[in-house]
Amino acid sequence: MIAELGLAALWLAAALSALQLLGGVLAQRKEASEIARLVRPAAIMQGVLAGFAFLMLLWLFYVTDLSVKLVATNSHSAKPLVFKLAGAWGNHEGSMLLWVTVMALAGGLIALVERRLPEKTMLATLSAQAFVGLGFYAFLLLSSNPFERLPQPALEGIGLNPLLQDIGLAFHPPTLYFGYVGLSVAFSFAVGALLTRQVNPNFARAMRPWVLGAWIFLTLGITAGSYWAYYELGWGGWWFWDPVENASLMPWLAATALLHSVGVLAARDALRTWTIMLGVIAFSMSMLGTFLVRSGILTSVHAFAVDPERGSFILVLLLLYIGGSLLLFALRANTVSEGERFSVTSREGALVFNNVMLSALLGIVLLGTLYPLLTEAFDVRVSVGPPYFNPVGAIFTIPMLLIMAVGPLLRWRGDSFARIKNSVAIVAAIMLAVLALVLILGSYGLLPVLGLAVAAGLAVGSFLPLRGRNLMRAPLSLWGMVIAHFGIAVALFGMASETAFSEEKLAAVPVGESAQVGPWNVNLEQVAPVAGPNWTAIQGRLAASYDGGDPVILTPESRNFWAPPQETTESTLATRWNGQLYAVIGNQAADGRWQLRLWWKPFVTFIWYGGILIALGGLLALIGRLRTDLKRRYVKSRQADRAKEAAAL
């Protein structure tokens, strides 16, 4: 009964979505249409129904209803509750339902609260949102029904893969989905504005919280994903330029660019078509990422849920959404009037530079990711990796970070370099000092050395916009920017430090003896077999002491799974404030010694601290913007009331 209720709610939501699309389209005609009045209520109701359907799915997983196919194949009565619930979205059907639900809730929310835009633009936006939603409803209802019953209830569920019973992994996909859905809202705003040619600061202000929200979630998703790959895969790296990673990075790059250009549009009414274009691109990148990951079209270390049929479905959705919006853009872009002008040395100028660099980065990541796909069509197999991404990416990243360190000091519209030359001199001096210091310390690669210098300058530069301000009175959004920019410096410092100063030791060690890596002395105390539910492992017991201090006990494992047969390494970490020791145990050599792989990675944790700071900055900015919006709305309604009172008198 519960499953049928969920399915019924889903069909109703889809029907309302169709009504919302139709109403929004009809509202664009000259004569007023009755159906247009139904659009907002339809969007709200659609959100309620989709939310209800998702709750029903959660309930089915909560009670482990084994007559439902999805529950039987993805859950188990003996599983811990949190993983039972996470099982609801830890699979293709459930994750699609989650996506649709979040999207419908977002649509309902805009319909409920957004009053700044002209009604026609608003209805066009909701209509675009319904158009995107309908594709997903079709996907769910026609080919991936999460509520499908089994002819005979199963006796017990097959369970979630034990490898995936990881709390980080349970919440990684929803985080990214929130990001993607936020971008879908931005996309709908862009399409709505294009349809009605209403591209103005109000449009930007309506769009901005969604872009910010999406950007925060994407930042967290990438940060968490990077850390997961770092400790789980046992390769000691934190970024592999793997297609799946790139698929999450590309929407982030586009969203970052969009975040900055939408700010220019909101403040100065400039960069109109460019902002629209980025709104389309940002969502396109998240759809493209979903397509690449789910279709299995690219070979990746973590391609999952691979199914060519699903791939074809998503490709059709891609064609409709992206192809359609790009066509609309091509038809309409020339009719959107150009916004305000500005001089090169101005806040806008710096932000345009940032946008161009981010777009170039996006371009090279996109090219590198898709290049193997392109050459494979001609039967040439290539793999594109760090030797391409790192140097080519740096060409754009370093100038962008340099401008970022001082750009926020510039005034809007027009400014002179002379006014900020003192600040520029401070930042430049710090960079040069660090550069000199690192060059004296030793010889490291060019990129990490530049990275360290730029990180130092940027760390200081990011706080300069607060100089001379009353810190208590500085707007929250300014603090948000400062903290996010500082987070970039922190993350960059972690990356550069890890690359420059990491020490690696591959040693064959007999039990009872030690290996040295950096300041660490690691003693292999014993090696013992341990058994798990579907694996056996050998577990090493390491006593690691930093610089002669008290030893920390580490227990790295090398696991052998037998169904499917697979060998995995469980790395272990010893974290200090100034870095991490990373230990992996390998096979036993013929003479009884054990392979130990040890890394000392100074300040590697700063990469993820930086990521968290960036997201925190975004959160502060979001709260600040929402507060301003609410204040503005309150003032407006007061004005309207007063006007009414005055008229009544």
């Binding site: 397509f291 490709l315 066509l327 392109l374 047969p565």
Partner: protein, 178 residues
């Protein structure tokens, strides 16, 4: 923006869709097939991997009878999984020649004691030389070799129950062709 420039994103996107659609229709080969399939096994001679059974040489593969050449090792876990299915093949009259990779005679003996011996001959390939020369990249792998020493089929990974009829079929084809 000038009027032509705004069409560029759409053009790039459509190009991508074309390539992606083409790629989706292509079968995905996840395994790297040996390029030696259809070619003769190169000359080789391997000493016995354990005292009781003879070693393997190229002459054994050219005696006019199609057989299976099984690349395995006592230290390989999936090889344990495929042992009962190799036994089924043996009982159906298939001759299986083994090549033990980087192994020790006592380990080989212990493995065969524990999981049964489907082999008529086992050669010791201590440096994986033969393995590499016939284009095998891992253990276990099973090759169908016809009576003239020509590789007819390569099976990657452990032999499971559903692969037994396939291998029998391939052997029958190799016998007819030789």
């Amino acid at each position: 923006m000038t009027s032509l420039k705004v069409w560029i994103p759409l053009a790039i996107f459509l190009l991508f869709c074309g390539v992606a659609a083409y790629q989706l229709t292509q079968p995905k080969d996840e395994f790297v097939e040996s390029t030696m399939v259809g070619k003769p096994v190169p000359d080789f001679e391997l000493r016995p991997a354990l005292a009781e059974l003879p070693g393997v040489s190229i002459a054994d593969l050219k005696d006019g009878k199609p057989k299976l050449l099984n690349i395995w090792a006592s230290w390989c876990v999936p090889c344990i999984a495929e042992a009962p299915h190799l036994d089924v093949l043996k009982r159906q009259g298939v001759e299986i020649v083994g090549v033990a990779i980087r192994d020790r005679p006592e380990d080989v003996a212990r493995f065969l004691n524990q999981y049964g011996n489907p082999y008529t001959k086992i050669g010791a390939d201590d440096l994986s030389e033969i393995q590499l020369s016939i284009g095998s990249s891992g253990v276990p792998e099973t090759f169908v070799v016809d009576g003239n020493g020509i590789i007819r089929h390569q099976h990657l990974g452990d032999v499971r129950a559903e692969h037994v009829p396939v291998l029998l079929q391939k052997l029958a084809e190799a016998g007819a062709g030789a």
